[in-house]
Amino acid sequence: MLKIIFKKLIFIPIASFIVSSLAFLVVNVTPGDPVEVIAGGIASEETKNEIRAELGLDKNLSERYLSYLNDLSEGSLGSSFYTKVPVLESINQYLFDTFELIIMSLIIALLLGFIFGSLGAYFRGKFPDKISNLILSVIQAVPDFFLGLLLIYFLFFKLQLVPAPVGRLGLLDLPPEEVTGGLLIDSIIAGNWDTFKIGLKHAILPSITLGIFYSSYFGRTTRNVLGNALNSNQVEFAKALGLSKLRVFLYALVDARTPIITYIAILFAGLFGASAIIETVFAWNGIGGWAIDKILMLDIPAIQGFILFAGLITLFTYTFLDILITFIDPRIRKNTL
C-alpha cells in the first residue's frame, strides 16, 4: 500500500510545476495592456515605461517565464506591485483568517446538509424528501452574497441579534497577539476569552451565509448517494437478516462514505474560492478579500502569486483525499496490492 501512496506523492511535484505554469499563463497572456489601466489615463509615456519595466512586462514571454521560475525556485511568489510586500508574507498574514472562516462554514454546511440529505434519502419520494428538496433548491438559487446581505438585514438590522458586519472585531476592539494570524486561534492561545467571544459573534453571519449556501450542495449529494445505498441489495439483505434499523442505516452510510468524503474535499477546495466574495461583504480581512483587492487593482505579481497558491491548495487537497480513500476502502487497498 505504501507503494500506491508513494506513486501519488510523486505526482505532486510534476503537477505543481504544471499548475505554476498555468498560473503564469493566465496572468501573462492578456490582450490589451494592463499598464494602461494601472497607470491611469493621464500618465505620461515615461511613467508607463517605468511601470512596464518594473513589472517586467518589457521583456518577452519566455524571458518572463524563466525569471518567474527562477523566483519560484528561490521560494518567492513575487511582491505586490503597489505595496512591495512579498506575496508570501501577505498570504501568511491572512491565510488563517480565511481558514477559520472556511472551517466554521464547512461545519455548518456539513451538519445542515447531512440532516437534509439523510431526511431526503430515508423518506425518498415522500413528503420530507419533497420539502427538503424544495428548500435546497431555493437555497442554491440564491447567490451567496445576496444571502449574506439578506441575513445582515434580518439578523442585524431588524432583529439586532448579531453585531455590525464591520470585520472580524468591532471597530474599537483590539486583536490579540499574532501567532498564527487567525483571530480565534490566537485569542485562545493568548487566553483572551473576551476577544474570542467577540470574534465568534462577528463570525456568525459570514459562516452561516456560506454554511447555509453550501449545505444545499452537500445535502443534494448526501441524499442521492445515501438514497442509492439505502436501496441497494446489501441493505436489503441486511434488513432480511433482521438487523436493527440503526445498523441498516450504518450499512448504507458505510457504502456511501467514499463519495461523501470525496464531496467534502471538493467542498473544502471550493469554499476556498467562494469565500472570497463573502469576505468582501463582511470585511473579513482574509486571503480572499485581499486577493480580490489585488485583482481589482491589477496588481499583477500579487495576482499571479495568489493564483498559484490557490492552485496548489486544491492540488494538495485532492491528493490528500486520494490517499485517504485508499486507506479507508478495503476494496482499493486490497486490489492494488
Binding site: V142, F146, L150
Partner: protein, 272 residues
C-alpha cells in the same frame, strides 16, 4: 406544437410559469414603456421606499429600481445564455475528441484536470479584471468556466456509446469513427445536453452577478443585477432593503426557472 401542448398541460404549470418569467426578463424591456427611464438618475428622489410612482423604490443615485431590474435581465440573461451555448458548441467536438483512445485525448483530459485545479470563479474574476470591463469579456469568462464541464459530459456519454455493439457493426460496415459516434450520439444525448445547458445557464447567471457585484464586468451606468445589489449593499445595514432585494429576487426567480425547465426536460426525456 407538441411543446405548446406540453406547456398548456396543467401538470406542468411551474414549467410554463418559468418560461414566461424568462421571456419576460429577456424581452420585456423591448415592450414595456417604463414610467421612469432606467438610465436617468434623479438625486433628489434617491433612496425612496417603494411607492406608487416608484414601484420598487429608488437607489442611492435615484435610479428607478423597477425599470433597471428588468433591463438588467436582458443583459444578464443574454450573457449567461450565449456564454453557455458557445461553451456547449466548443465542448462538443472537444468531448468527442477526448473520448477516443488517443494520446491527444489523454492530453486534453490532463489539461482539463489541471485547469479545474483552480477556483474557477477566481479565474473568471482575474480574466475580466485584466481584459477589461465589457460584455464580451464576461461572455468569454463564462465560456471558459463552462467548457470543461461540457467537455466532460460529452466525453462520458461518447464513451458509453462507443461501448455499444452497434458501433462495432457500423464501423465494420465502413463508417468513419467519429462521424458514427456523432450520428449515434446526438439523439441519445439531446435530452441530457439540453438539461445541462439549462442548469449551466442558471449557474452562469450567478457568476455574472458575482462579477458585477465586486465591480467588474457589467458596470454602472449599464444595468446589471450584480451591480445593483452592490449599490444597495451598504444600505442593508441601515434598513433600505429594496435596492438590493429586487435584483436579488430577479436572480433567484430566473435561476429557479432554469432549474425547473431542466428537471422538466430530464423527466420527459427519461420517459421517451
Amino acid at each position: 406544437m407538441t411543446v405548446v401542448k406540453l406547456l398548456l398541460n396543467k401538470n406542468n404549470i411551474f414549467v410554463t410559469f418559468s418560461f414566461f418569467i424568462l421571456l419576460f426578463f429577456s424581452f420585456g424591456s423591448f415592450f414595456i414603456s417604463f414610467p421612469h427611464d432606467p438610465y436617468v438618475t434623479d438625486i433628489a428622489n434617491r433612496l425612496l421606499e417603494p411607492n406608487e410612482t416608484y414601484i420598487f423604490g429608488t437607489d442611492e443615485v435615484g435610479f428607478d429600481v423597477f425599470s433597471r431590474t428588468i433591463v438588467a435581465g436582458k443583459i444578464d440573461l443574454f450573457i449567461s445564455l450565449s456564454g453557455t451555448i458557445v461553451a456547449l458548441i466548443i465542448g462538443l467536438p472537444l468531448g468527442l475528441l477526448a473520448s477516443e483512445k488517443t494520446r491527444r485525448a489523454e492530453r486534453i483530459m490532463k489539461v482539463l484536470d489541471m485547469f479545474q485545479a483552480f477556483p474557477l470563479l477566481v479565474l473568471a474574476i482575474v480574466i475580466v479584471a485584466m481584459w477589461g470591463n465589457n460584455i464580451r469579456n464576461v461572455i468569454f469568462a463564462i465560456i471558459l468556466i463552462n467548457v470543461p464541464r461540457f467537455t466532460r459530459l460529452i466525453r462520458s456519454e461518447a464513451l458509453t456509446v462507443r461501448e455499444k455493439r452497434f458501433i462495432e457493426v457500423a464501423t465494420a460496415m465502413g463508417g468513419s469513427n467519429s462521424r458514427i459516434i456523432f450520428k449515434h450520439l446526438m439523439p441519445n444525448i439531446l435530452g441530457t445536453l439540453l438539461a445541462q445547458a439549462s442548469i449551466t445557464t442558471a449557474h452562469s447567471i450567478v457568476v455574472v452577478a458575482a462579477l458585477s457585484f465586486i465591480g467588474i464586468g457589467v458596470v454602472p451606468p449599464e444595468a446589471s443585477w450584480g451591480s445593483m445589489i452592490r449599490a444597495g449593499s451598504q444600505y442593508m445595514t441601515t434598513g433600505q432593503w429594496w435596492t438590493s432585494l429586487f435584483p436579488g429576487l430577479a436572480i433567484l426567480v430566473c435561476v429557479l426557472s432554469f432549474n425547473t425547465i431542466s428537471q422538466f426536460i430530464l423527466r420527459k426525456y427519461e420517459s421517451l
